[in-house]
Amino acid sequence: MNNRASFLQRMIWLLAIEIKVKQNLYLLTLLVTFAILSFSFFNTTIVNIFDFLLNSRSVILNRSGNITSLSNIRMPMKFHLDYFPLALFITGSIVTSLSFKEYTEESSRRFHISLPATLIEKWLVKVIWCLFIFPFLFLVLYHLFALVTYQWGQGMGREYVRISFLDPYIWRYMLYHFGFQSLVLGVASYFRNSAVIKGVLAGLGAYFFLIATRNVLVFAFFPDFELEKMEGFFSKEGYISYLKGAHFSAGEITKDLTYLFNDYTFSIYMAIGFIGVLYVSFRRFEEFEA
């Protein structure tokens, strides 16, 4: 049949198996994700809470500190931008944590280990699917979702910030996703049972580790920061808005600089996470027995 199948041919066959074997789970994950997104989109309270948590600039307070209005009622809402990293992270983590599902049960593991393809091909196809193909597929689907919901939103008299393939914000999160999912892949190769829960937990752990590392870096560069004000991501004031309040006005920190902190942190994470964890994941995969 194929006397001299090339590396590329085998990778394509393996990728086809990877998708076909788990297609129902992938479809279910995407369906649930977009159903939740749609529900959130049409639920004004959820949209406002989310916008309030992430974009505190849109909150107008009176002198006594009470909210008098949410400025996003008038301003274009950032629903699609705000939800993108969260949806990508949750959906991606579920998909990545399913990577080694066929190696959970013994008979299936035995079959897949003995399938004629090299160890690196079998492992690499999972990396390519989880870290490259799926996120891009998700991005396309998310854009379609955004296109449709813009129209619906306008019909309801709401205005939204448009999402674009060229938006650096999107690509920044695509890049972060690449790092997070390498960790989830590593976890999935170690914990094949309940891999979804463990994968998502590991991803969340990595996310908070990233935030913590970034904060440490900020303190290193700006030691005069007051610790009690570093309330974290979900605080009412929010981390970014604090930076703006304390140092933006003095011209010490620009928006680009805050992104730079994220990027420095992410670079450190990538060096440890991407290279280190992926290597560990491959070694673990190599050890699979049946």
Binding site: R110, S114, T118
Partner: protein, 282 residues
């Protein structure tokens, strides 16, 4: 050719399953791997195929170190385990997914074998019984034309006509110079196929003999009453009398009864093995 040198396999619990086993297997033969439950048969197979890695020793399968699981090795064999993995897809989908990986897979052979096993080529695997799924897998395995075909309890789940069909097919393809390893407890189903016996007991290979060799050294005869002869190595009650094993083959001897031979080796290990080994090296 497969060569197993000083194979020792130990579970992480410290339990030794195989002890210092040496073995050479050659193409063109059907090896029957026998042994009690837990004797180490499946573990030996898994080590040969690289599914498990030895605690000690080296296994070379068709020129490849098994524990490295190189692509070259994986192309050399197809393994049908006792509880095979059969996805819930149509026969066509199964072929589309997996056949490409086997360089010598022949669709014509596969379809012909499906026909011989009376299986519909358009059927969905989830609608088949366990025995039918196994037949479909056996057909696929044979159609891969791998030089090594390993089967663990291949006749489990097969009905009587299918067992006969299975023997016929294996006998037919055995001439192609492939190497077969068949691990089984269903000796009566397969004894006519096997031309070399490997018997493992407590992790040690205690019998490694050709059937012809065994037939030359031992006689299998049925008598109405139990023999009291000193030459009787072993005997057991069978319908119509006693089946006895005596030293030295003779023209009137029955063909080797593998089940009785197995019982004889297990119960009178030293006597039988000493006799077989003595004649082997003479």
């Amino acid at each position: 050719m497969i060569s197993v040198e000083d194979l020792t396999f130990q579970y992480s619990s410290g339990e030794n399953v195989i002890n210092n086993l040496n073995l050479e297997l050659y193409a063109g033969k059907i090896y029957g791997l026998l042994g009690k439950n837990g004797a180490g048969k499946t573990t030996l197979i898994k080590n040969i195929l690289g599914l498990r890695r030895p605690s000690n020793g080296i296994i070379n399968t068709f020129g490849y170190n098994s524990s490295k699981r190189e692509l070259g090795l994986l192309k050399q064999y197809f393994f049908i385990p006792e509880d095979p993995f059969i996805p819930e897809v149509s026969v066509k989908e199964y072929i589309d997914r997996y056949a490409s990986f086997y360089p010598n897979f022949k669709i014509d052979t596969f379809l012909q074998l499906l026909e011989e096993f009376e299986l519909d080529r358009n059927i969905h695997l989830k609608h088949l019984s366990f025995g039918q799924k196994k037949k479909a897998l056996i057909a696929f395995a044979i159609a891969t034309h791998t030089p090594l075909l390993v089967m663990d309890e291949p006749t489990n789940g097969l009905d009587i006509p299918s067992k006969k069909q299975f023997r016929k097919i294996i006998t037919h393809i055995a001439d192609e110079g492939r190497l077969f390893i068949i691990s089984t407890h269903q000796i009566r189903d397969l004894h006519s196929l096997i031309d070399h016996v490997l018997l493992i007991d407590e992790g040690e290979l205690i019998v490694n003999h050709d059937m012809m060799n065994i037939a030359d050294m031992l006689s299998f005869d049925v008598h109405r009453t139990a023999l009291k002869d000193e030459d009787v190595l072993y005997q057991e009650r069978v319908p119509g009398g006693y089946l006895s094993i005596t030293k030295g083959g003779h023209d009137h001897s029955l063909e080797v009864d593998l089940e009785v031979f197995f019982n004889a080796v297990i119960t009178k290990k030293e006597t039988i093995i000493d006799l077989l080994n003595l004649n082997k090296y003479e």
